[in-house]
Chain length 157, copies 2
Amino acid sequence: MAQQITEDEDYALQTCLLGVANILIKVRERELLSQRLSATAADILFLVNAMEEEVTPTKISRMMLRELAAITRILVHMETQGLIKRTKNLERKNQVRITLTAKGEDARTHAMKKQGATGIISTLSDAQQKQLKETLIALKEAGMKELHLSPKALIWP
Amino acid sequence: MAQQITEDEDYALQTCLLGVANILIKVRERELLSQRLSATAADILFLVNAMEEEVTPTKISRMMLRELAAITRILVHMETQGLIKRTKNLERKNQVRITLTAKGEDARTHAMKKQGATGIISTLSDAQQKQLKETLIALKEAGMKELHLSPKALIWP
């Protein structure tokens, strides 16, 4: 019985965490609406800009823990929007390189200025933010272990 | 410049939170694979079981902060799997009532026993869990305010 209650509490906390993630995504999608950008597309713009090495769809899918097919769909759409360029690697023809266009760079800068979602985080005190970060890192470690992946596979935090 | 750094830290923490949410969903999807159940479908089974009042697709979409069209698609699929029943309200014909079938009830019980995702939460100490809960509640309040929604619209925590 005590075990049952503990499990339910863990489940409640998990629901809570996923719920807050959902709220943040919702706020983010709303603030990006005028740019016709999804939260994932904005994250891809940031990621491509932040990565120093060559960016491929496979790397993006690994870092975002998303299926390659889903990422490819989003990338194709982003290319039709003129935000990125997908260039075939001349040596390894099955590889595609992703780069930002000037329009993509511009969209990234604009998306970065939208502060609805980060504004929610900033309502927390510094101490709360520090604790939250530590807890999230611990959860990341435990979660990646459960998935048999190295925590280093994800660049954050 | 200091402002810029603060914003970047908030964005990093947001990425961290969404990343952990992603890991939990990934673990959940993996453990539910043998039941051919998505994480959202499992949540719907829990929600329909937990709600005492009449459950409609609109209520589910509100509580899960998901678009009605997306929830309807999932519900239609769950009905073909024999997990739920969608019954037309005889008085208000545009309303559909959702109930669990015996198979759905069975799937809910099984899904509840899978502990990969909740196991990740339970690696945290009691104090960490308590802090995390408080922080998530604060984020929920701030987020729902940003969305101009009442925090009471969501039943958790």
